[in-house]
């Protein structure tokens, strides 16, 4: 990676063992600030485990994770998930986990941190949080409008199609102003049009707000349209990394995916 781009996150020799299973072994990746980075690899190669370590769900067996905050690097491995979130790192889940008893719009509204109405005293005086609530609802609605999904705002997750659930899961992550987004298979199950709209939208907000994205995805054809750099994981190791066009032609990767 060239020296002029500042990294926002890097992992140094991260390993994770579950009993005898080596889910990750000495994985070192560097995520440049403002980049859209792809993370690909066959099933079981450790992609989601890496996300879990970055977001505080697992503690790495070895190695460190560093994150740039106010132009200083701090270690974030071993922090609690909610602490990691507060540093500006948002993740979405591979299998969507919407809150079943909340409507779509409420699912989106839960995300923003530090809402005024979340303290008991402010919750009782509803005037204190009304203005903030209005602006959050506006933001949620404009997110939905971007995908022509205003009609699902008051539906419950159980009433949605699989693709809509997936989309809402990603949008829920995007509701919060964060710096680094980890999207776990955001395109799975989406139709081509919505998938392209989502990718275009990701690129758009990246350009506007200088955000960073790490995207795990199996739909490599679509992914390669927007990513700038790709890491390939295989059996818990970084098999290759490089620009998308280099990766596509790398015979090792084809072998890892389809076998010999």
């Amino acid at each position: 990676m060239n020296g002029e781009i500042q990294p926002i996150l890097n992992t140094r020799n991260v390993s994770k063992y579950f009993g005898g299973v080596r889910a990750l072994e000495k994985v070192s990746i560097i995520i440049p600030e403002g980049g859209i980075i792809g993370l690909i690899g066959p099933n079981g190669s450790g992609k989601t485990t890496l996300f879990n370590i970055i977001t505080g769900f697992h503690v790495p067996s070895e190695g460190e994770v560093f994150y740039k905050l106010n132009s200083k690097f701090i270690r974030i491995d071993g922090l609690n998930p909610h602490e990691v979130f507060r540093l500006g790192i948002v993740r979405t889940f591979q299998i969507p986990r919407l809150f079943p008893s909340l409507t779509v719009i409420e699912n989106l509204l839960v995300t923003p941190i530090g809402q005024k109405g979340e303290s008991i005293l402010n919750a009782i005086r509803w005037r204190s949080w009304l203005e903030e609530e209005k602006s959050l609802i506006k933001k949620a609605l404009s997110l939905l409008a971007k995908f022509n999904k205003l009609d699902i705002a008051f539906k419950y997750p159980a009433e949605l199609s699989v693709a809509d659930i997936k989309l809402v899961e990603t949008l829920r992550g995007l509701m919060n102003p964060a710096r680094l987004y980890l999207l776990d298979e955001p395109l799975a199950g989406l139709d081509l049009l919505t998938a392209r709209t989502l990718l275009k939208f990701i690129k758009e907000i990246r350009d506007t707000y200088k955000l960073t994205f790490i995207i795990i995805e199996h739909r490599i054809d679509l992914l390669m349209e927007i990513v700038e750099y790709v890491y390939v994981l295989h059996n818990g190791r970084v098999l290759a990394s490089g620009k998308p066009e280099e990766i596509i032609q790398n015979p090792d990767i084809i072998k890892a995916y389809v076998g010999e």
């Binding site: 909610h82 979130f85 409420e106 839960v110 941190i113 979340e118 009304l130 609605l141 409008a145 008051f154």
Partner: protein, 345 residues
């Protein structure tokens, strides 16, 4: 033959006290996801704090030697009755103070309890709290200055100086209903605020809530502080109304009675909690009327109560699986969305 007005007032005071328990249980269990099978622990603690303050403190301030006339003896009860009729300001003052103290102490007790309960799995929270209730009861039985098995008697009803039972009970009813109204408003506002939304999200899936930046243990302990404190207030009101406390009043059955209320009324919604309390306290009070006919009946109300409550619960749940008044999505979100309609591109 039957004193209708007296019965109504008595029922409504019970209704107010049990509504407080049902509303707070709804807030912590229906919305906050803390399975509280130990509601009676906080109710009982509040009752004992109220009983202690309204007797010992009253006696001590009035210059009675507490060691010679403790409130669980006849001398103590006589002295208490004398003071509570002759010195209304002192009685009322101590009563108000006891409500505040009981809110604080019970609240802190609940807050401290969240430390162990949030760390055991969700299923064990209920059992931990259930056993806390029994432990407290064992402590009451074995502590002499709270009266042991006999409990404490002669807790003054703060309006006893009015010298007219009906009028003083009406005053007490008004006081209870106003406290109930306050608790209802607090619970309603929390439910439909961003805090309520966060609580419901934690109940649905605490892991996702955690990774969306919610400090789940902290939010749970805050809400448990509030609901425990308010159950303590209900306990204090109860102790002063029935004018005595003893360990047998705070058995597990009380907890499950309150659970039955929110199941029938519809968990999640404060309206449901109030309606559930209204129905079940009416059943309870009507059954207590049968006490005068025991010689003609082959059973006592204690055996009839579970049958009737079970029957009501079955009928309600068959017709309305989510209870009589389940929660509706917040209106405020809908109205804001309606305002914004057409402005979103």
């Amino acid at each position: 033959m039957i004193d209708v007005i007296g019965f109504l007032i008595n029922w409504l005071i019970y209704f107010a006290i049990y509504s407080m328990l049902a509303i707070t249980l709804n807030l912590e269990s229906g919305i906050g996801g803390i399975t509280n099978f130990g509601k009676v622990a906080f109710f009982g603690l509040g009752a004992y704090i109220g009983a202690l303050m309204n007797t010992y403190m009253l006696l001590a301030i009035s210059g009675v030697d507490v060691s010679k006339a403790p409130p669980y003896t006849a001398e103590g009860v006589i002295a208490l009755t004398r003071i509570s009729i002759s010195n209304p300001a002192l009685v009322l003052g101590i009563f108000i103070l006891s409500i505040l103290v009981s809110f604080t102490v019970t609240g802190i007790f609940g807050y401290l309890l969240t430390y162990p309960i949030i760390r055991v799995g969700a299923g064990f929270v209920g059992f931990t709290l259930l056993s806390i209730g029994e432990v407290l009861r064992a402590i009451y039985i074995n502590t002499e200055f709270v009266g042991g098995t006999y409990g404490m008697l002669g807790i003054p009803q703060p309006f006893m100086w009015i010298n007219n039972t009906l009028l003083s009970n009406i005053c007490y009813l008004l006081l209870s209903i106003s406290i109930l109204a306050l608790i209802y408003i607090i619970s309603h506002r929390i439910l439909y605020s961003p805090l309520g939304r966060t609580l419901r999200s934690i109940r649905d899936d605490d892991i996702v809530a955690l990774c969306l930046g919610k400090d789940v243990p902290k939010i749970k302990s805050k809400i448990f502080f509030l609901t425990s404190g308010l159950s303590g207030v209900a306990g204090t009101l109860y102790a002063s109304y029935v004018s005595s406390v003893n360990p047998q009043m705070f058995v597990m059955l009380v907890t499950f009675n309150v659970w039955a209320m929110i199941i029938i009324g519809g968990s999640e919604s404060p309206v449901g909690a109030v309606v559930g309390a209204l129905i079940l306290t009416l059943v309870e009070r009507l059954l207590s009327l049968t006490a005068s006919f025991y010689e003609y009946l082959p059973f006592t109300s204690d055996y009839l109560r579970p049958v009737i409550i079970g029957l009501i619960m079955t009928i309600v749940l068959v017709k309305y699986p989510r209870g009589l008044f389940p929660m509706k999505p917040p209106k405020i979100t809908k109205s804001i969305v309606k305002d914004l309609e057409g402005k979103i591109s």
